[in-house]
Structure formats: structure tokens, C-alpha cells
């Protein structure tokens, strides 16, 4: 009897279509490996590839190391101890996430370069003219510094939640066994938080691999910049597809390692009511040290760059015409809003399908789309543009038939950019929606159908209103991510279409650092508000 399936057919068809649409462009990258190699590729392979791999892995390794050190130590301090400013720091330490890496990069460059506030102060007030080489951050260590500052919150956030909710009995029993704090930290805390540390640091690594803005601005050769260059500099799309495929190989390699390190099991916070870890009150020197440590991380990673941006905005106010800024803001909100809206709608369809169709493939299929988030933006850009150009070629006779003169229609349109956003950020929205569906279960849905409402009415009257929290937080997360996005937007935007992020990036690249500040501050401001709202939502949601 397949009659029951008829019940969900509409959902199934739409969900499968969406999944195919989201997944297929990535296939074009995989297929690209098999296309004949050009001379460029032979050259890249022989002289450059190893260098890209080395640089990329250096960035990844040290950033991982430092984000773990900082993220874990902060998580441990906040989860176990009470000290002055702890409650504020608990969420303030997440805020650096609202600074896109490239904005952090050029702000810090601006702070410490020759005309920056540090060298100027040393010269004017202390009569010291230091060797400028000490103040060069436009190199690999500098990039690692920037990544660490803006990405450690991933490790901090995930590990802190784990430690405050899951570790009470283990840590308390270690305490009663007479173990000191250091011993507890190394022998208990690190081993039990392994899974959350790995979860956090994989996000960090994916962000590093995804980054285009910092390395481009600092002039460091990595996969991202090489893909961009091969494509636009050499006009060799085939070779950049091959580079993209290599980068994708690294990503998949890292994802596999992650799975292995996690010990094969998906980590989940157990749903049973857990006892929070009671806080130990620090006194005297220890309290001062804890406060100082958290305050200095917060200052270096968030406060100082923000103050510098505000300073520049004040200095340059009026230099960038207001109507331009308004236009970029409007464009940013348009693309981020459209992208987030589509992602939420698609997530609702796919999530509902995963929930209602009681077949294994309905559980596994949506997971495929999550790959998009792991794949660096530049790779997604290559994939999407290849797909759209193919599509345009395919549709060319149709364009002629309806009297459109151009060969390229879709691939010069906002449609392409939005599609790329949807592919890259789908997983962010989907996670939120999926956990929303998990939370409400199927009981209310059954009740609604027993009251005579069909599947569609149930969806709009029951499911959607009950998932308001998940929908709003999913929307916010995606919106902010698109707002900060750089490579996809740069590559795929229609001619002369600028967003806050692309404009800030261009100004900074042209060494008009001050002019870049206005757009940057807007991005960071909106992201900060979003993070704040998000935390409010999460906290108010009943457990």
C-alpha cells in the first residue's frame, strides 16, 4: 500500500528537488577533476600547489592551536569560577564573532602601522621610533593572530555550554578526591570536553579555509586567493575548478578526521535534566587574574578594534556620501534578507520531509546539503558560476525565442548570488529548523489532523507558529552570515552591485582604511545586535 506515501508526496517532491538543487553545483567541482588539464594547471601543480597546501595548513594548524588554548581556558574559567565581571564576560566573550575576519585584519593593520595610533603615540609622546618591521602584521603570523581573535569564540561557546551543563558530577568527584585545579583541568576537563573542543575547532578550521578577505588583504597565497587569481587573473576557470577540488579534498579530509576523533559518535547534550556546575568564588589575586585575563582577551578581540572603527567613523564622517552608504545598506539587507528567507523556507520544507517520511533516506538526504557549509565560499562560487553558465548555454535558444538579445541571463543576475548564498548557508538555517521540529514533535500535528485540518493547513496554523523561535533564530544566524560574507559576493554580484561588505573590503584594499570604517561598523553593529537578540531568544526558550 503506497497510499500513505501519497500523503507526503508534495513535501517529498519539493524536498528532494531542493536537496538536488543545493547539492548538484558541488558535483560540477568533482567532475572538473576529470576535465583535461591546461598548461596553467601543469605549472600550478608543479610550482605552486605544494606552497598553497603548506601555507594553508600552517594557518589552520596554528589557528587551531591558539583558538583551543584561549577558547578552552576561557570556557573553563567562566564555567567553574565566579569573579568580578564574570556574568558580563560570559556573553561578551562571544562578541568577536560579529567581526568579519577581514575587518579585524585591516583594523589591526590600521592600529599598528606607521601612521597608526600605537606608533604615533610612541613617536609623539615617548620619542621612540621603533623598527617598523616589528609592527608588520601583514604576514602569516599576523593572519593567525587575526583568525585567533575573531574565531576563538566557537571553541569557547561550545565548550563552555558543555562544561556548565554536563560536567558537574565528574568535576565534583575529582574535587572530593582532593585534586587541585590544575590537575582537574588537565586530567578531567580536557579529556571530557574533547568532543566539544573538536566540534568548536572544526568550525574554526572551516572558517580559516573559507577565508578570502584576510589572506587577500595581507597578500598571503592560499587556495582561496589562488582560485580567485587563476580564474580572474589567468581567465582559466578549468584550473581554478581543479584548485577548488583540491581544497574540497582538504575539507573532506578534515571532516573525516573530525568524525574519527569524535570516536564515531555524534555528540549531543543529553536531554535529561542536568545539574549545572556550581561556581567556585575566586578571591584575592586569583580573582584579579581571572578578571584581567578575560578583560584583556575581550579588549584585544573586540573592544579595541571597535573603538578604532568608531574613531575612524567620526574622523571621516561625511567623506563617504550618505546616500552611498544607504544604498550599500539597502543592498546588504536585500541580499541577506532574501537569502535568509529562502533558506528558512527551504529548511522548513526539507525539515518537515525529514520528520514525516519514515524512511531512512529521508533522514540521510538532508545531511548532504550540510556539506555546502563546509565548502569554502570561493569553491561554492566556482561551482555556482559553472552551473549557471551551463544553464545559460542550455537556455540560449529559449532566450532567443523570447527575444532576449544576450547570451548570459541568469549568470549576470542577482539570482546567481542568492543561489550561492542559499547553497553555502543552508546548513545554518536548517540546523535551527531541524531542532525546532525535534522540539515540537509530531503530536500537535496529529492532533490537528484529527481535528480535520489537512497537511498544509496544519503546517501553517500549527507547525510554523509553534516554531517561531527556531525560525527567527535561524533567520538571524543566516542573515548575519550573509552580511559578513566576502568571496561569494565579490565574485557573483552583478556588475556595480555593492554591499556593505564588498565596499568595506574594496576601500580597505585601496588603503582607504578610514573610509572603510563606516560600512564595517554597520556590519559589526548589526551582527552584535543579532548575537544579543539570539542569546535572549535562547535563554527565554523553555528547556
Amino acid at each position: 500500500m503506497n497510499k500513505h506515501l501519497a500523503n507526503v508526496n508534495g513535501w517529498t517532491i519539493s524536498a528532494v528537488l531542493i536537496i538536488i538543487l543545493l547539492f548538484s553545483p558541488n558535483l560540477s567541482i568533482v567532475l572538473g577533476i576529470f576535465s583535461p588539464a591546461s598548461d596553467n594547471w601543469a605549472h600550478i601543480k608543479e610550482f605552486m600547489l605544494l606552497k598553497y597546501i603548506k601555507t594553508t595548513l600552517t594557518l589552520v594548524f596554528f589557528t587551531a592551536l591558539f583558538t583551543i588554548s584561549i577558547g578552552l581556558s576561557l570556557a573553563w574559567l567562566i564555567a567553574q569560577y565566579d569573579f568580578p565581571l564574570r556574568n558580563f564576560m560570559k556573553w561578551a566573550l562571544i562578541l568577536p564573532l560579529s567581526i568579519p575576519p577581514f575587518i579585524g585584519a585591516y583594523t589591526y593593520h590600521g592600529i599598528i602601522n606607521y601612521t597608526g595610533v600605537i606608533q604615533k603615540t610612541l613617536r609623539n609622546h615617548f620619542d621612540i621610533t621603533p623598527n617598523p618591521a616589528y609592527f608588520d602584521i601583514m604576514n602569516i603570523p599576523g593572519a593567525i593572530f587575526i583568525y585567533t581573535l575573531v574565531l576563538y569564540p566557537y571553541v569557547y561557546m561550545i565548550t563552555r555550554i558543555f562544561l556548565s551543563h554536563q560536567s558537574a558530577s565528574l568535576i565534583e568527584s575529582a574535587r572530593t578526591l582532593g585534586k587541585g585545579p590544575m590537575e582537574i583541568f588537565f586530567r578531567v576537563v580536557i579529556p571530557i570536553s574533547r568532543v566539544s573542543i573538536i566540534g568548536g575547532v572544526s568550525l574554526v578550521i572551516l572558517e580559516v579555509l573559507n577565508d578570502y578577505g584576510v589572506v587577500k588583504y595581507f597578500g598571503i597565497q592560499t587556495f582561496s586567493t589562488a582560485i580567485f587569481q587563476t580564474w580572474f587573473g589567468l581567465g582559466d576557470l578549468d584550473s581554478s575548478i581543479k584548485l577548488a577540488a583540491s581544497l574540497m579534498g582538504i575539507v573532506i579530509f578534515i571532516l573525516i578526521i573530525e568524525r574519527l576523533l569524535r570516536g564515531g559518535k555524534q555528540y549531543s547534550y543529553s536531554t535529561t535534566k542536568v545539574r549545572p556546575l556550581p561556581l567556585v568564588k575566586l578571591k584575592g589575586k586569583k580573582a584579579v587574574f581571572a578578571t584581567l585575563y578575560t578583560v584583556s582577551i575581550f579588549s584585544v578581540a573586540f573592544l579595541i578594534p571597535i573603538l578604532q572603527l568608531i574613531d575612524w567613523v567620526i574622523l571621516t564622517f561625511g567623506k563617504v556620501p550618505m546616500e552611498d552608504v544607504l544604498l550599500y545598506t539597502k543592498n546588504s539587507i536585500t541580499v541577506a534578507g532574501l537569502g535568509a528567507f529562502l533558506i528558512i523556507v527551504f529548511s522548513l520544507v526539507v525539515g518537515n520531509f525529514g520528520r514525516l517520511v519514515k524512511h531512512k533516506f529521508a533522514k540521510v538526504l538532508p545531511k548532504l546539503t550540510v556539506l555546502g557549509y563546509s565548502i569554502p565560499g570561493v569553491v561554492v562560487a566556482v561551482a555556482v558560476i559553472t552551473t549557471f553558465i551551463t544553464l545559460d548555454r542550455f537556455l540560449a535558444p529559449f532566450y532567443q525565442a523570447i527575444g532576449i538579445d544576450s547570451q548570459l541571463v541568469l549568470s549576470v543576475n542577482l539570482v546567481m548570488l542568492i543561489s550561492a548564498y542559499v547553497i553555502r548557508f543552508f546548513a545554518i538555517g536548517y540546523n535551527s529548523i531541524e531542532s525546532g521540529f525535534d522540539k515540537i514533535g509530531t503530536n500537535f500535528r496529529d492532533a490537528s489532523r484529527m481535528l480535520g485540518a489537512n497537511s498544509l493547513r496544519t503546517f501553517f496554523k500549527i507547525d510554523v507558529p509553534m516554531m517561531k523561535g527556531a525560525i527567527i533564530s535561524g533567520f538571524i544566524l543566516v542573515f548575519v552570515d550573509i552580511l559578513k560574507e566576502i568571496p561569494l559576493t565579490l565574485i557573483l554580484r552583478p556588475f556595480n552591485y555593492d554591499t556593505l561588505a564588498t565596499k568595506a573590503f574594496q576601500y580597505a584594499s585601496d588603503e582607504k582604511i578610514m573610509e572603510a570604517s563606516q560600512a564595517s561598523l554597520l556590519i559589526v553593529g548589526v551582527s552584535t545586535i543579532a548575537i544579543f537578540v539570539f542569546h535572549k531568544l535562547l535563554r527565554e526558550e523553555p528547556k
Binding site: 490537528s448 480535520g452 496554523k461
Partner: protein, 246 residues
């Protein structure tokens, strides 16, 4: 017969044994049937099959002359005209009591809907609670709203899944009496599921005992269970499990 079930079969896709194994029985209009069985015996599954929330693997079911399912028919749950009270009530948390009830009413004017909601709320003695939200009600009140919501569209059959399991014992006894009065007053045919033989005894016209997915016995309460234990002075309430010694 008003309602006929023949050779009903079902198993969950991830289980090899039959959860509902060859159920056949019939029900008269206005009858209140109680399904009695220990937990895990397949009672909820049976209700979900009747409701149309699960797809049987065989058998047929007719209600009031309409085929609900057989080899070539499967009527969707929303088209069956069957009401259901869920074990956890499943009151929509984002709707007021009144809106919960109105949700299930067929097409009619808003005024008529409100009137009907008032009628059923009166029936369950909750007049004045229209504007409350589910979280502002006690367990017993929620249970009665769930009942009112199920009765409001005048279903041809109403299903109740362990309607008392979430209530305090004191409340259970009171509501048990209320439920029978309400069902009889609304002249609704009902199947309610329980693992408590006192409930079955107090409420049902007939009892269907099930055991491991099979029908064990069907009969009148006094024939199957003897005198109700609660009617014997000094006797404590015992559950079905204790009675049959499992």
C-alpha cells in the same frame, strides 16, 4: 453494525513482530468501549490505526457505512470525522482555549463557532475559561479542554488514549464519572484505552482486553472483571496488571 473492524494488522517498519495482530470486533452506535491492556500491548497503536495516523498492513474498517480503509481505500485522518483525545492532550500552546476548540469546527460563521465552543465548554464545566491559554490551566482542566475540543465537531467516533494517566488519583475518580456523563450526554460512540481496570469498569459498556497485540477477551465489564473492586469496602485500588498477576 455502526463500526466494524476486520482482521486489522499492523507492524512498525523497524520491528519484526506484529504490533496489532488480527483485530476484529464491532461497535454499536453510542457505545463506550474500553480497551484494556498492559503498557506496550499495542493500545495506542490501535487507536492511531483507527484514526488514520498509521497505515495498516491489512484488514478493513468501516464507520457508519463508510469504508475508512480496506484493500483499495485509505481515507486521510482529517477526512474521517473521528475525534481524538491524546494522552498528553496536545492542546495547541499558541492558541487560547476557545481557539483550540474553534480550530476543529467545520465551515460556519465565526459567531456560530464561538457559540459552539461555548456549548462544549459548558458541557465540560469550563465556562469562563475561553480566553485562557493551555499553560494557565491545571492538568484536569487541560484534559477537559482536550475532550471539549474533540467533541465540538460532533465526530462520529471519539478515541481517548489513557485519558486519566496524567492526573492525580483523586482527580481521576472524579473525572472518570464526568467523562461517562459527558460522552453519554453527547451521545458519542467512544473507544478509550487504559491500563487501569477500575477505569475500564467505571466507564465502559463493553471491554476489549488485549495482550501482546492480540485480542484476548471481549465482554461486559461485570462478566470480564466481576464486581468492581472499588465497590468493595476497604479494598484498595489495584491495576489490571496486579489483578491478572503480571
Amino acid at each position: 453494525m455502526y463500526m466494524e473492524i476486520n482482521n486489522l494488522m499492523f507492524s512498525y517498519s523497524n520491528s519484526s513482530s506484529k504490533t496489532v495482530d488480527n483485530f476484529s470486533f464491532s461497535v454499536e452506535k453510542g457505545e463506550v468501549i474500553s480497551m484494556l491492556g498492559r503498557s506496550g500491548s499495542g493500545k495506542s497503536t490501535f487507536l492511531r490505526l483507527i484514526a488514520g495516523l498509521e497505515m495498516p498492513s491489512g484488514g478493513s474498517f468501516t464507520l457508519n457505512g463508510k469504508k475508512m480503509f480496506c484493500e483499495d481505500t485509505f481515507i486521510h485522518p482529517e477526512k474521517r470525522g473521528i475525534g481524538m483525545v491524546f494522552q498528553d492532550y496536545a492542546l495547541f500552546p499558541h492558541m487560547s482555549v476557545e481557539d483550540n476548540i474553534i480550530f476543529g469546527l467545520p465551515k460556519m460563521s465565526r459567531k456560530e463557532k464561538i457559540k459552539r465552543a461555548g456549548e462544549v465548554l459548558e458541557l465540560v464545566e469550563l465556562t469562563g475559561f475561553e480566553k485562557r491559554y493551555p499553560h494557565q490551566l491545571s492538568g484536569g482542566q487541560q484534559q477537559r479542554v482536550a475532550l471539549a475540543r474533540a467533541i465540538a465537531p460532533e465526530p462520529e467516533l471519539i478515541l481517548l488514549d489513557e485519558p486519566f494517566s496524567n492526573l492525580d488519583t483523586d482527580l481521576q475518580v472524579k473525572i472518570r464519572g464526568d467523562l461517562r456523563r459527558i460522552l453519554k450526554k453527547a451521545k458519542t460512540t467512544a473507544i478509550f484505552v487504559t491500563h487501569n481496570q477500575n477505569d475500564a469498569h467505571a466507564l465502559a459498556d463493553r471491554i476489549v482486553k488485549i495482550k501482546d497485540g492480540k485480542i484476548d477477551k471481549i465482554g461486559r465489564p461485570c462478566d470480564l472483571l466481576g464486581v468492581s473492586p472499588t465497590e468493595i469496602p476497604g479494598m484498595i485500588e489495584i491495576t489490571y496488571e496486579e489483578l491478572i498477576g503480571v
